[in-house]
């Protein structure tokens, strides 16, 4: 409030100056767009497949309902535009993004609309409710105080990717335990191949290994508890140490493809797509990100990261509605409308991604992922560290973990650095 008070005397002055200056650039002005219809700001750029699917749905929605939709293809930074406007500016009626950034902005500031109404609404022409179309397996983390804040339309699963054309044996009998898996790596290494592709300059790719292994050993949600400890010492248990040692071992055994430490993304991932390395641990964007430039005949296959308590880390991308939206009713109608098979299904067939509706067929590249999400328990990517503790991974986990994965520190060094950084983090985030 004090901020507003301090700006208001300047308002007149600012208006005077700006109107005087604005005259000099005649022809570039213009206020905000909008009107009676629905304003939708999207995380996609117009040329991307998801944007095409959404744009078609928008056109069909307009034709059927007569509601005018104005779409702005903002791209990935869409929330950087929404956040400043939350305090009093013109917010869009509908936004889409990944769950984490939405949680850090709209949810954290309690500026989201409770979407219970959407889930209770009927998907037009299907005689089913939205809640019956979207698998509730994915919805556990998409609520705050019991109020859903996101309706997912795309699901990203994380795990190992490999070329089943080149590794038919792995596809036939996938490794279930860490021992089986490392035996496989050792065999590949002994045959002169590079077992694992990793772009080590991307810190969360490094973290997928450590946190993935920990999740699979301790069970989902446990890592998140370790990260909550204000002293940072909770990590130092025999169980955790054993997992860390096995992760540390990957580089000691030389399992990572050359260039994993010292090259730049996407160099190593490119090598993998060219068949120069066996496994890539990544989200389900791996096929679409490398697909256009991959070697011919590659057949993408998914394999959940092996471990005793295996789970599939899954994150969602979807729609959200700001609390101050002017036309939330129309936004809710559009969300329900988009859940129709003919639209949502194209997220799978054309955008080559998994949808939250298990009844819709998955694209062939992701068939293994669809099967795994149906059969195994779901966990959160990076066990929710990134989602729940903003800044934690950047300031605490990544710097310590990069050294461990690349073999530049040992388990003791990792634990010491992590404890120190974690204590520092919680000191300022009390």
């Amino acid at each position: 409030m004090a901020l507003r008070a301090s700006t208001s005397p300047r308002r007149l002055l600012a208006a005077l100056v700006t109107s005087a200056l604005a005259l000099t650039v005649a022809g570039c002005g213009g206020g905000s767009s909008g009107g009676g219809g629905l304003t939708y700001w999207s995380m996609w750029k117009e040329s991307e497949p998801q944007a095409k699917v959404l744009a078609d749905a928008v056109r069909a929605f307009e034709a059927e309902t007569g509601v005018k939709v104005s779409v702005q293809w903002q791209g990935r930074e869409v929330l950087k535009k929404v956040t400043p406007a939350l305090r009093g500016g013109d917010v869009p009626d509908l936004v889409d993004q990944e769950e984490n950034p939405i949680r850090a902005t709209l949810v954290q500031a309690d500026a989201f609309r409770d979407l219970s109404g959407v889930f209770a609404a009927e998907v037009p022409g299907s005689a089913k409710l939205v809640s019956q179309v979207v698998s509730d397996k994915y919805l556990g983390t998409l609520k705050k105080d019991g109020k859903p804040f996101l309706v997912p339309y795309e699901v990203i699963g994380h795990g190992l990717w490999f070329d089943s054309a080149a590794h038919a044996g792995v596809a036939a009998s996938p490794p279930k335990t860490w021992q089986d898996f490392t035996a496989l790596l050792a065999k590949s290494k002994s045959e002169g191949r590079s077992p694992i592709a990793l772009d080590g300059d991307i810190p969360y790719y490094n973290a997928y290994w450590t946190i993935g292994a920990l999740q699979n050993a301790l069970g989902p949600g446990r890592v998140s508890e370790l990260a909550k400890d204000p002293t940072g010492k909770a990590w130092d248990t025999p169980e955790v140490r054993a997992v860390l040692a096995s992760v540390r071992d990957l580089s000691r055994q030389g399992y990572f493809a050359p260039g994993f430490d010292g090259s730049k993304w996407p160099a190593v991932q490119e090598k993998w797509a060219q068949g120069q390395a066996d496994f890539l641990l990544m989200g389900s964007w791996a096929p679409s990100e490398t697909g256009a430039k991959a070697k011919s005949g590659i057949s993408y296959q998914f394999l959940p990261l092996p471990g005793a308590r295996q789970s599939v880390p899954v994150g969602s991308l979807g729609f959200t509605i700001p609390k101050r939206a002017k036309n939330p009713g129309a936004a809710e109608r559009f969300i329900a409308y988009f859940m129709k098979d003919q639209h949502l299904g194209r997220i799978a067939t054309e955008a080559k991604n998994l949808t939250p509706n298990p009844a819709l067929p998955a694209p062939p590249e992701l068939a293994g992922l669809a099967k795994a999400t149906a059969e195994l328990p779901i966990s959160r990517p990076l066990d929710g560290l990134e989602a729940d503790y903003p800044g934690y991974v950047d300031e605490v986990f990544y710097p310590a973990n990069d050294l461990l994965v690349k073999g530049k520190s040992e388990v003791d060094g990792f634990l010491a650095q992590l404890a120190e950084r974690q204590a520092n983090y919680w000191k300022k985030h009390r």
């Binding site: 901020l3 990944e98 950034p101 710097p399």
Partner: protein, 314 residues
């Protein structure tokens, strides 16, 4: 950035005292200054003061501000992440600054009577006009290990694999890049100062049998001193805001680079908009900016004291 200007206030013949010209200047002072001053106050100083105010609060940029007194500052001084980032800012200021000035002087001495001087100077200047984002993409291609140009050249020469630049010496690589980008600009500025030294002084030196170092120490440096001093102040202020070149060493355009290479500008971004799950700690980020700005202001004042000398007349 740019050159000459204020900080080195050169003592000159007193004009302010009297005379019609001076009187007239006093009359036109405010009308001339006012448009710029109004815009500056409204769009820069106003928001900056608001930020100072915000720095005493906990604020996510959306909800209500929660007063915190000096707590943000207390936390800041024991926050290892901030202290490391601030250390990097100082490292850039001192190491990159010293190296840039040394290289620029070296280039100036070579360029002074070299053929093709204009062309060379123009080419050296050009990294300065290209978006830092682009330069760092290229810098990555040069230094990546094992297939980068630097290591390929090293392998061709010695047969060894060479240093893992990006993996083990990322901040060093960034600093070398910053020296490269800034050298062109400061060479141009310093050359401007050196070019005005009368050539006969160098002839006298040659007659007296002075070495290159003596020439530099007793002629070049003192006679271009005020240009150097001004350039040093400009560097100090602008080195604070170096951002894109470091930022682009993150994996993707959305991602922050590893925390060990953050400077204070990246720290501010990391505490507000940066990262995949941004922190939106505007109060804390404001406090860190206030501290950085305060320290740099002190440094600038000290630097001006230190560098102030009577300009040598010639």
């Amino acid at each position: 950035m740019a050159v000459t200007a204020i900080p080195v206030v050169r003592p000159r013949k007193a004009v302010a005292g009297g005379g019609a010209l001076a009187r007239r200047r006093r009359r036109t002072f405010w009308p001339f200054l006012l448009p710029a001053l109004v815009i500056y106050l409204a769009f820069f100083i106003g928001p900056a003061l608001a930020s100072l105010w915000i720095s005493f609060h906990k604020w996510d940029g959306v909800g209500e501000m929660e007063p915190r007194g000096l707590q943000n500052y207390e936390i800041l001084f024991s926050d290892d992440t901030f202290l490391a980032a601030f250390g990097n800012t100082l490292l850039i200021l001192v190491v990159v600054g010293a190296a840039t000035f040394a290289v620029s002087f070296g280039l100036t001495m070579v360029l002074r009577d070299m053929r093709g001087k204009r062309f060379v100077r123009a080419v050296l200047f050009f990294p300065y006009i290209i978006s830092p984002l682009v330069l760092s993409v290229l810098w990555g291609f040069l230094f990546r290990t094992p297939e980068g140009l630097v290591n390929s050249a090293w392998a061709a020469l010695t047969g060894g694999t060479g240093v893992n630049w990006l993996g083990d010496h990322l901040f060093g690589v960034i600093m070398i890049g910053l020296i490269w980008v800034n050298t062109g600009f400061y060479t141009t500025v310093i050359m401007a100062g050196v070019d005005r030294i009368p050539p006969d002084l160098y002839e006298d030196c040659a007659l007296a049998g002075a070495t290159a170092w003596q020439r530099f120490r007793h002629v070049t440096l003192p006679l271009s001193w005020d240009v150097v001093a001004t350039a040093a102040v400009i560097w100090t202020i602008s080195s604070l805001k170096i951002f894109e070149f470091i930022y682009a060493f993150g994996g993707n355009t959305n991602d922050m680079p590893t925390v060990t290479v953050w400077n204070s500008a990246l720290f501010v971004y990391g505490a507000t908009f940066g990262g995949r799950t941004p922190q939106y700690q505007f109060g804390y980020a404001s406090a860190s900016a206030v501290v950085t700005l305060a320290v740099i202001t002190v440094l600038v004042v000290l630097l001006r004291r230190l560098l102030r000398r009577e300009a040598v007349a010639f």
